[in-house]
Symmetry: C2
Subunit: 462 residues, 2 copies
């Protein structure tokens, strides 16, 4: 059958799709608010029903110590076909301040091409388009099963930091084996420039504590003759970067997957206005590692940031003390193939050697960190998404990355499969903010791309 | 007349002196506690009476916007004799925590050689010995007036930071003209090693404020591509010292009066145990400018200290932000002949050039600072005090300085006269702490040295 029939199906069923999505958007599944737990559970039930109606033979509510995820499985007709896990989430952000919304956050409205409502973009709209895409594929192929085995895992705590997601993945690892993971919780560069995200930075964070004199000392009596923990801290932190804004920890860049000339060229082709970006950033000047553009710095280069610092006197007026203690919070954004545990050791070693006698230093790490993830441009799964997007949008597909981290790294890590991103949200969707919205025709494009993707992934080498 | 008669007089009148001092010590003249204002006024009245009884023809209570000072004048018989201003204070520190006192803070007790009680050392005991010294001189010389014109200014707010003292000096400048100022509010190295303080460090303090992005930014979305105010602050502060712990501000040391070989040799002869000092400092290691001993660093070298620092997130766990602001409190300890206003400009210039585009920096100075003061070893007034102390103690007199600042710099500055220090307190006197005490025989030595000093100062070149 011709692909146009997928597009025709989607076009013909868009009103039904809109009605169905709006039903879901009316459910106030705010995971961060404990009083909304029944609504999150209702959202999971709604999704489970919708998956069952679509034809999934197995649909389960997966409980966690917190809020439930929804699992659904539909085996391919061909038992040798690849398996694909689709990730998304059915919980939404809080809606405060409600006053700033033009309408009620949970009374979705289509205004022109824009569908307004909490969750329309992040992430119910992008989970829902998979249902439409799959129906379209089945109708267009007159089939009773998808060309790949599909396993949906749609969690209910993403907007609360996915506290139980890794545990859930580990618990159900044997039921989630797959050849690729498709994440539909990201966006594109602009409507006119459809893109695919190829990676996310990882992260590891810590607190550095320095202690010097047992008590705050009078700087008249002792200043200049004992070590000041704040002096040591500022030297220690300043020493983490050289004058090219590179991190000085020896070997820090050893495992960094360098940007290929091809990737840099593709990034550079994204329509980009630095002044607009600065406005978005509320910043006055771009600043960072020598030799890289702003987008390269955010997407493809690791960082060391001081997130907070404190010690000594911070009240009104002045207090002339040599303080007893100094503290800082640090975070490292990491890129593939940096290992958070390796970076931890680099900083531990640096701190141990950077402090003079008279200072005790400790580094407290917040967890083991989040691994960076990156799908190389030539990865078969990424090529498959690229072709599917090209077919849906009829235009060249470019690439982006994300500077932050999500549960995606856990998917790659626990399931040991390549992660690819199929998302049609836009930076202008106001996710997490009042008046969240989505460009409704882009959800239809997402459905179309998803339908094409199953054929593309069916051909994955196994 | 022989000097021994001064000593004899003091010896014979020591019990009377003790009784008189104890009367004064019973007055609870805590200047920091507003409920004690009547007691501070009673203390001023007590001192005024004592001065009048001693024979001062002019005794006045000098009101300030706060608590009163006491002024007394006794012209020399010879109108051509030099004039000497004597400075001390009649207010005392609070007594909390009272539980830690062995007896009642305002019920003075002589236990062996130690006189216990709030103010016994700081500073009533050291003001009172002047009255005994003067009576001794008059008796020994069978005279009705001192050999120098004496002008006593005994303030009532020193323990509250002398907020109105400079104003008082300026208001009464014409009545306080003098050839030397004798400050009796400092101490000696040890009982066995009598010393004279020759100078105090000055000070100037400020707050540095840096602002970068208009709001805290998500470090995933922006980290590495915008300037982080905390990075700039740590670089800026770390850049204030070189690896020899010298302050890097260009010209910072230009006006520093270098330590003479003679002064270094005299400092080095003070009995000193670095481990004991570290214990006093609650510090684990000595640390400071290369090429100087601990005492030299505290007494004779300027410093730049970070007294406090804050910015970004300092709560539990971590928050991965690029913060919007960064702040620090700085103080410079200054030595003669550094000018606080010159140092202010050096830092202002440094901050202005040290911040990259994207950061706005401001430096807020707390006042004009306190000038350092130093009396050279060969200054005639210091030589006079040295000879007077030698005669009283019968041993060689060594020299110290103080690392902090008091109202003494204002005396030198407003009265434009050399300031010398005649004090017999000891570091073990527990001033400002529970169980304040003084070695009573040292107060008698102080009286004796003061008596000899008037003869010495009478020979000052005018």
């Amino acid at each position: 059958m011709a692909e146009t029939s997928i597009r025709d199906y989607i076009d013909e069923h868009q009103h039904e799709f809109l009605d169905q999505l709006c039903d879901w958007l009316r459910i106030e599944s705010i995971s961060a608010d404990p009083t909304h737990e029944p609504e999150v559970r209702r959202s999971a039930d709604w999704l489970a029903s919708a998956l069952a109606e679509t034809g999934f033979p197995t649909v389960e509510i997966w409980e966690t110590p917190g809020l439930p995820a929804v699992f659904a499985e539909w085996p391919a007709a061909d038992p040798a076909a690849p398996t694909v896990v689709v990730y998304g989430h059915h919980d939404v952000q809080p809606v405060d301040p409600v006053d700033l919304w033009d309408g009620a956050p949970f009374d979705p409205q289509l205004r022109g091409e824009l569908l307004l409502g909490r969750g329309s973009s992040d992430d119910k709209g992008q989970v829902a388009f998979h249902l439409l895409g799959l129906r379209a594929w089945l109708a267009a192929h007159d089939a009773t099963a998808p060309p790949v085995t599909l396993r949906f895992v749609i969690e209910g705590e993403e907007e609360s930091g996915s506290p139980h997601f890794r545990g859930l993945l580990e618990e159900h690892r044997d039921r989630l084996g797959c050849d690729a993971v498709v994440v539909s919780d990201t966006g594109m560069w602009t409507r006119e420039t459809p893109t695919i995200c190829t990676g996310m930075r990882g992260m590891v964070t810590c607190q550095v504590d320095l202690s010097g004199p047992a008590v705050d000392l009078h700087s008249g009596s002792f200043g200049g003759a004992v070590v000041n923990p704040l002096d040591v801290l500022t030297q220690l932190l300043a020493g983490l970067h050289d004058d090219k804004r590179r991190v000085t920890l020896p070997g820090f860049y050893d495992d960094v997957h360098p940007l290929s000339p091809r990737e840099r060229e593709l990034f550079a082709r994204l329509p980009y206005d630095e002044n607009e970006w600065l406005e978005t950033a509320n910043a006055r000047a771009a600043y960072g590692e020598d030799g890289y553009s702003t987008l390269e710095r955010i997407w493809a280069r690791p960082t060391c940031e001081v997130n907070g610092i404190w010690g000594g006197y911070a009240g009104a007026g002045h207090k002339t003390i040599v303080p007893s203690e100094a503290h800082a919070k640090l975070s490292f954004r990491l890129v593939a193939d940096q290992d958070p545990m390796t970076v931890r050791k680099l900083l531990d070693d640096y701190v141990a050697t950077a402090v003079p006698p008279g200072i005790e230093a400790t580094v407290h790490w917040y967890g083991d960190g989040v691994r960076p993830c990156l799908t190389p441009l030539d990865a078969p799964a990424l090529q498959a998404v690229t072709r599917a997007m090209q077919q849906a949008f009829g235009t060249e597909i470019l690439y982006t990355r994300e500077g932050g981290s999500g549960p995606e790294a856990d998917l790659a890590d626990v399931l040991q499969a390549p992660v690819v991103f199929l998302g049609v949200a836009l930076p202008s969707d106001r996710i997490h903010a009042p008046n969240e919205r989505v460009v409704f025709p882009l959800l239809l494009k997402g459905a179309e791309a998803a339908a094409y993707l199953w054929d593309e992934l069916a051909q994955l080498p196994r």
